[in-house]
Every structure is written in structure tokens, then in C-alpha cells.
């Protein structure tokens, strides 16, 4: 594994200060699971926070010694000599509250009841996550991030950071983003949620007590989600109309390769992802709309931001199409913010932000070189 940060160990931080959520609910105490790569410099100025999207975690880069196949989800982006260079930056990945990878979430035991939170877990939002991340930064002694970076839902967190904590973020790296979901985006999320909540094994979200998981619902949710991450062309390229057994069989089991692929993805997902977390995260997506508080004026919502921005979109992304990123760029221009915007001609759809596209990685690398140079200039 060349240029890997190597074997990494996740850490846990416990928080006793209640997290007052946007919904009005309060999370009295919680744990955050996180990983760090690279070295925090003496000035504590070289920290970069990487925010995860729907189904990812704090495991952003490197691998686990006990299972080297468990490679971080953005390992192609982050490591020594990589676009986000851990020789220069101290990189933090954190699992958000409500997650299912070690941070306090619906599957965690509520100390008040001795049972899993389940349906009683607060409906957390992007704003709540960013608040929790800021507290983690406090505890790590990081007053200001050199950059906060994310793709998709992670990019929404990078935007929210620039709005909520303008003095604590020098650069906001916003990739494959949207300033809010469209009706179509919400509709897809609703189908996924319905798949989960109508599964008889869901038990209103309190399935833990029954020792079951709403596997069918999770599979369907993942399948529909997965379709929206890929472009029509990418799917056609990958699967075409290839048949599993070489012929159609006049039945409703798997005939086409794409069916087999989706079922496999769904199965895998239902093994490791929590159904309540899926509901929460899709809801966080639905509710994110910083412009709403400013009569729909995104420029006004972004007015407090003082960070420099790097915004990138992918031409074949129909889930968060380039037009959505251009809305963000327009709002930044209205505020005369510093912004570099790249529209990358990539065929892979929304998933492109995770893939090895040379132009994309070169841009991120160049941008982070500027971030590193700015750090040098401050010292």
C-alpha cells in the first residue's frame, strides 16, 4: 500500500456537555469516534476536518491492522504525498452523532433507560453535527481548521462550517454538493425511508429489542440510493444488458447483471448499516437548507463566511448536478468570496467524488498546496 497512512486506530472522545439539537431535543452525553492522520503542528494550524457523507464513517484513510482490507473511504485522496497530504496536514475523520460506526447513535444504549435509543434518538441535523465536530476540535486544541472538506452530504457540512464558525475555518472544500435538496432528491430519500419503516422487522425503530434488523428495508434503501449515485452511462458501461446465465429465464429472480449487483450491494449494506441511522442521515440531507433562514437567499446565508472556497462538481452527477454547485458559486460571488470552481467532465455520476479522476485529484492537490503555502506565510 504505497502512500498509505498505514495502520490506523480509531479513538473515542466522550462529551458530557449536552448537545442541544436544532429539533429542540437534547443529547445529554455522547461519544464521538474519530481517527487522525499526520501530525498537528506546534501552532495547531494545519488541521483539516474531513466530513463524511451518507454511509461512510470516521475511517477516512489508512487501514486496520486486524483487517487490512478495511481501507478508508477516501484513501485515494488522503495520505503521504496524496492530494490532501498527511505529511503537511493533520487530518481528522469523525463519525457524526446518530451514526452507526462507534459514535453515539440509535443503536447505542441510552443510559437513562438501559436500552437502545432506537426511535427516541434525536433527529440530528447538519447544524448539530457541525456543532459536535466543533466540540471535538475544542478538545483537540484546534481553534481554527486550515480546511474543512467533504463530498455530497460531507460538503454540506463544509458549507455549514463556513457559515456557523467563520473564524474557525480558513478553507471550505465543497465537492459534489447542493445547497439544499430538490424535491426529486427528497423523493428518493422518502422511498428509501419507506422501504425501511414498512419492513415488519423495523418495529417502529425499536427492533433491537426483538433481535432482528429490517434487512429487506435496508437492502431496498441501498439499492435505490445506489442507482442515484451512478450515471445512466456508467451503469450501461458497467453492466449493459448482460445476463447472468447468458439467457433470459422468464422468471423474477436475477436475470440481468445489474440486478445481481444491486442485490449484492443491498445485502452487504444491510449487514453493517443501522436502519435508524439511515433514516436520520437522509433526514439531515432533506432538512439542510441554510438559505431558508434568509428568505431563500443563499448569498445572505453565506454572507458570514470568510473562508476561501474550492467547489467542484461532476458533469454526469444527476443527484447533485453541476447546476446545484453553481448556485453555491453564485452566492459566493455575490459575497465577493474567494472561490475556485471546477466542473469536472467525469462519466461516473455522483460517486465520481470518491474515484480516481486525474483532473479532479490534481485540482484538489493544487488547492491544498495553496492552503499549505498560506500556513507557511502565517508563521
Amino acid at each position: 500500500m504505497s502512500n498509505s497512512v498505514g495502520a490506523v486506530t480509531p479513538q473515542t472522545m466522550h462529551f458530557d456537555t449536552p448537545l442541544a439539537c436544532r429539533s429542540g431535543a437534547v443529547l445529554d452525553a455522547y461519544d464521538l469516534m474519530y481517527e487522525t492522520y499526520g501530525t498537528l503542528n506546534a501552532e495547531k494550524s494545519n488541521a483539516v476536518l474531513v466530513c463524511h457523507a451518507l454511509n461512510a464513517s470516521h475511517h477516512v484513510a489508512g487501514f486496520y491492522a486486524e483487517d487490512p482490507r478495511k481501507v478508508g473511504w477516501w484513501d485515494n485522496m488522503i495520505g503521504p504525498g496524496k492530494p490532501l497530504d498527511t505529511d503537511k496536514f493533520f487530518v481528522i475523520g469523525v463519525n457524526n452523532p446518530g451514526g452507526c460506526f462507534g459514535s453515539t447513535g440509535p443503536a447505542s444504549i441510552n443510559p437513562k433507560t438501559g436500552k437502545a435509543y432506537g426511535s427516541s434518538f434525536p433527529v440530528v441535523t447538519v447544524e448539530d453535527w457541525v456543532e459536535a465536530q466543533a466540540r471535538l476540535a475544542d478538545r483537540l486544541g484546534i481553534a481554527r481548521f486550515a480546511a474543512v472538506m467533504g463530498g455530497s452530504l460531507g460538503a454540506m457540512q463544509a458549507l455549514q462550517w463556513a457559515i456557523a464558525f467563520p473564524e474557525r475555518i480558513a478553507n471550505s472544500i465543497v465537492i459534489a454538493a447542493a445547497p439544499k435538496l430538490s424535491a426529486q432528491n427528497i423523493a428518493f430519500n422518502e422511498v428509501a425511508r419507506q422501504a425501511i419503516t414498512t419492513d415488519p422487522d423495523f418495529h417502529g425503530g425499536d427492533f433491537y429489542a426483538y433481535n432482528v434488523i429490517p434487512r429487506r428495508g435496508l437492502r431496498l434503501a441501498r439499492m435505490i440510493g445506489h442507482i442515484t449515485y451512478l450515471s445512466d452511462d456508467a451503469m450501461m458501461e458497467k453492466f449493459g444488458r448482460s445476463l447472468r446465465s447468458g439467457a433470459i429465464n422468464f422468471h423474477f429472480d436475477v436475470d440481468f447483471e445489474v440486478e445481481s449487483y444491486l442485490r449484492h450491494q443491498g445485502d452487504k449494506f444491510s449487514e453493517y448499516f443501522d436502519a435508524n441511522t439511515y433514516l436520520l442521515i437522509t433526514r439531515a440531507l432533506d432538512y439542510f437548507d441554510p438559505a431558508a433562514a434568509c428568505d431563500g437567499d443563499l448569498a445572505r446565508a453565506l454572507a458570514p463566511a470568510t473562508a476561501k472556497f474550492f467547489v467542484a462538481s461532476f458533469t454526469s452527477d444527476w443527484r447533485f448536478a453541476p447546476e446545484r454547485s453553481r448556485e453555491i458559486v453564485k452566492a459566493l460571488l455575490d459575497n465577493r468570496a474567494s472561490v475556485c470552481y471546477a466542473e469536472i467532465n467525469a462519466p461516473h455520476g455522483h460517486d465520481a467524488f470518491l474515484l480516481d479522476d486525474e483532473r479532479y485529484l490534481a485540482l484538489v492537490r493544487a488547492y491544498f498546496e495553496n492552503v499549505a503555502n498560506d500556513l507557511g506565510a502565517q508563521v
Binding site: V339, C340, Y341, R359, A366, A377
Partner: protein, 203 residues
């Protein structure tokens, strides 16, 4: 803004020096087809100009990022829909006008988005080029280096052509600099100048 950083050279691009000389400190600038962002980098470092570039080429967008210049990847031929009316002091189009398909539209868009427009372009009326045409050949020169079958240029013009265009499109020319190499040309510019730079506004 970046006063401590070295001011990059724009020598060799006399048209950029002329353009830069017209942009006052602190102005806001939109540079269409900004290439590698050299003009913006120069303006930013020499006179704290807040600038944004617009570029379509991946390589140039990357170069702009490397030059720490604000850049927005976009196709000029599609207009400037992402930019509000009157949102910039100057909208610049250097050495790009002749390669635009939607020539009228982009000039009008420049004057919608900017208070003033600045263009530079190769003067097709430059005498060595006229001579080459008289000899029966498509002209080639320092400012028109391309072969006829392999050129981005589709809308070449002379100074007189451009000035006629302005007159018929309610565009008021404020200032003009004509050059041959680094020299400024005032006598018989349409014959002796190889590059022209214009600053203009709405009538």
C-alpha cells in the same frame, strides 16, 4: 491583499500591461477566458484588485488554482448567466474575442455584467498580413500564428471593423491602445498595429 507576495511578470504580453494600466486599485474584475490567470495574479498582487477568471479548459483552471487566482469553470459561449448585471467594474476579454462564436452576445454580456468592458485582439489589418493576402496567402504572424486549417480563430477583424461594430451596437469606446510588439502605435494604427486594446461602455 497579497502585498507581500512577488508581483508576477506579464512582460511579453504588452496587451495585458495595457489592460492592467487601466484598472485602478481596488476595482472588481471579471476576466473572461483568463487562461492561466496571469493578468488576475498581476492585478491582485500589484493593486489589490478583486478578480475572478472564467475558463473552460481543465488545464487552465488547474493553472489558475496553482496561481492562487479565483476561477470559475464555465463556457463563455453559453453567456454569463451566473453573473448579475452590474456586478463588476471591469469585464475583460483578452485575445479571446476572435475565437468566440457568439461575438455580439459576449460583448453585450460584458456590458451587462460590467460597468466597462476591455477587449484585446489581433488586428487583421496589420500591413504584413495585408501583404500576405495580396500574395494570395492566408496571413500568419506573431499574433496570428495558426495555420488556416488549424486555428481557434473564427471572427477576426480590423480596428475599423471593431469600431464600426461598436457604433452599430450602442457601444461607446472610451480608450484605445494600439501596439506593434511593445511599441505603441498612433500613426496609421489600422495598418501598423498588430494588437489593439479597447476600453468601452454602453452609450
Amino acid at each position: 491583499m497579497n502585498a507581500a507576495l512577488p508581483v508576477p511578470a506579464i512582460a511579453g504580453r504588452a496587451d495585458l500591461e495595457a489592460i492592467a494600466s487601466w484598472v485602478p486599485p481596488g476595482a472588481s474584475v471579471l476576466d473572461l477566458g483568463c487562461g492561466e490567470g496571469l493578468l488576475l495574479k498581476y492585478l491582485n498582487r500589484s493593486r489589490e484588485v478583486l478578480g475572478y477568471g472564467v475558463e473552460i479548459s481543465d488545464a487552465n483552471v488547474l493553472a489558475c488554482v496553482k496561481n492562487s487566482v479565483n476561477v470559475i469553470q464555465s463556457d463563455l459561449e453559453a453567456g454569463l448567466a451566473g453573473f448579475d448585471a452590474g456586478s463588476f467594474d471591469y469585464v475583460i476579454l483578452s485575445q479571446t474575442l476572435q475565437a468566440m462564436h457568439h461575438t455580439e452576445e459576449i460583448i453585450m454580456e460584458m456590458l451587462r455584467v460590467g460597468r466597462q468592458g476591455i477587449v484585446s485582439f489581433p488586428n487583421f489589418g496589420y500591413w504584413p498580413q495585408r501583404l500576405q493576402i495580396m500574395r494570395g496567402r492566408m496571413p500568419r504572424s506573431d499574433v496570428l500564428p495558426h495555420l488556416w486549417y488549424d486555428t481557434p480563430n473564427v471572427h477576426l477583424c480590423t480596428l475599423s471593423d471593431f469600431e464600426d461594430f461598436c457604433a452599430t451596437h450602442a457601444v461607446r469606446i472610451i480608450e484605445r491602445i494600439v501596439m506593434q510588439g511593445d511599441r505603441r502605435i498612433s500613426f496609421a494604427p489600422n495598418l501598423r498595429g498588430s494588437v489593439a486594446v479597447y476600453r468601452f461602455a454602453r452609450v
